[in-house]
């Protein structure tokens, strides 16, 4: 009976919040959906061009616990696309600034900062408590590590990446679906692929893709719509073309 009382308290608390009123009136969400969000735990790897919009969107929606991993400091060259940061934040740890801004935006949720890069060594400890991992990194080797952690923990990995005016989006390892390795088998020449620092990017693109990652996270937590599993979504911001490529699961990757 005690759990029922606790549930009742939480429902009353959410019902009293004006903040989420406009999304709670969606039949797909409702009070119970909002409760699911409040109880969900999501880990975001990278607080850069993709990580900022993922964090902002999930925090605003009321994601209960968000872990954010990044060892970087804010630089002036980040400001055109990483809207969590301001000029006087330059030189400060990204996760520290992100936590302050988000705490101000939504004090109802819990943000856990990890001011470190995600490595093979710290990955098991950092990731153990989360139900979804969001890949917002800017290196291919980090994506393989995140994939392997997601597979080991049996949790989905919400992936996006950008190249100039193009973006890729997918959800890997969702309900035993294809993984990142099914799409891109590992190869030693991969690290030559350019990132935003050396190939350039317009700020809106990672913000579009990051918002789409947050959308996939919300669909997974709330269990509605169609999660982008087994498909690679490709978007081109120059001509607004988009297409979806089917990915088969390679059983060797599990």
């Amino acid at each position: 009976m005690k759990w029922l009382f606790c549930l009742r308290l939480q429902v009353d608390k959410i019902r009293g919040m004006k903040r989420y009123e406009r999304q709670i009136i969606l039949p797909e969400i409702g009070i119970l959906g909002q409760l699911k969000l409040a109880e969900a735990k999501v880990l975001i790897i990278g607080a850069g061009g993709l990580g900022c919009p993922v964090l902002q969107n999930l925090a605003a929606a009321g994601m209960g616990t968000i872990g954010i991993v990044d060892g970087d400091v804010v630089e002036e060259t980040n400001l055109h696309r990483q809207y969590l940061y301001a000029l006087n934040d330059c030189g400060r740890k990204k996760v520290d600034v992100a936590c302050e801004v988000i705490a101000n935006q939504n004090p109802e949720i819990k943000i856990i900062p990890y001011a470190d890069y995600f490595t093979k060594e710290n990955a098991p400890e950092i990731s153990s408590d989360y139900q979804i991992i969001v890949d917002c990194t800017d290196s291919i080797s980090a994506r393989y590590l995140i994939n392997d952690v997601a597979v080991a923990n049996e949790i989905p990995m919400v992936y996006a990446s950008v190249h100039k005016f193009e973006g890729q989006l997918s959800v890997f390892n969702y309900k035993n679906g294809p993984t990142y390795r099914c799409l891109f088998p590992e190869n030693e020449i991969l690290e030559t692929v350019a990132n935003c620092n050396n190939s350039g990017v317009l700020g809106v693109l990672p913000n579009i893709l990051g918002a789409m990652q947050a959308n996939e996270v919300l669909k997974i937590v709330l269990n509605f719509g169609e999660v982008l599993s087994g498909s690679l979504y490709l978007y081109n911001s120059l001509d607004n073309s988009a297409q979806t490529i089917e990915i088969q699961k390679n059983k060797l990757n599990k």
């Binding site: 291919i140 799409l183 991969l190 990915i247």
Partner: protein, 80 residues
């Protein structure tokens, strides 16, 4: 056979185009043959690890091509 090839990401940077048409002999119709032809035309592609889709489905190098197939060269993106 007429095959439309679409290029993405860094591969489109190398080819300097988003798509082009290839004419493949009917008796050498695996994806491998077409890939080799494209890699000879644009040797820098050999430095890229990429996946290939045929008609919007990830395919392997032994997959047979049919007339008017659409082939996509998909490299991973790194930016975030």
């Amino acid at each position: 056979m007429e095959i439309t090839v679409k290029y993405f990401g860094i591969i489109a940077d190398i080819t300097q185009k988003k798509e082009e048409l290839f004419f493949v002999e009917n008796d050498s119709n695996t994806l491998k043959t077409l890939q080799s032809e494209i890699e000879i035309k644009y040797p820098k592609i050999l430095d890229i690890n990429y996946s290939v889709a045929i008609n919007k489905k990830i395919a392997n190098r032994e997959t047979e091509l049919k007339d008017r197939d659409e082939v996509a060269f998909l490299p991973p993106f790194a930016g975030g």
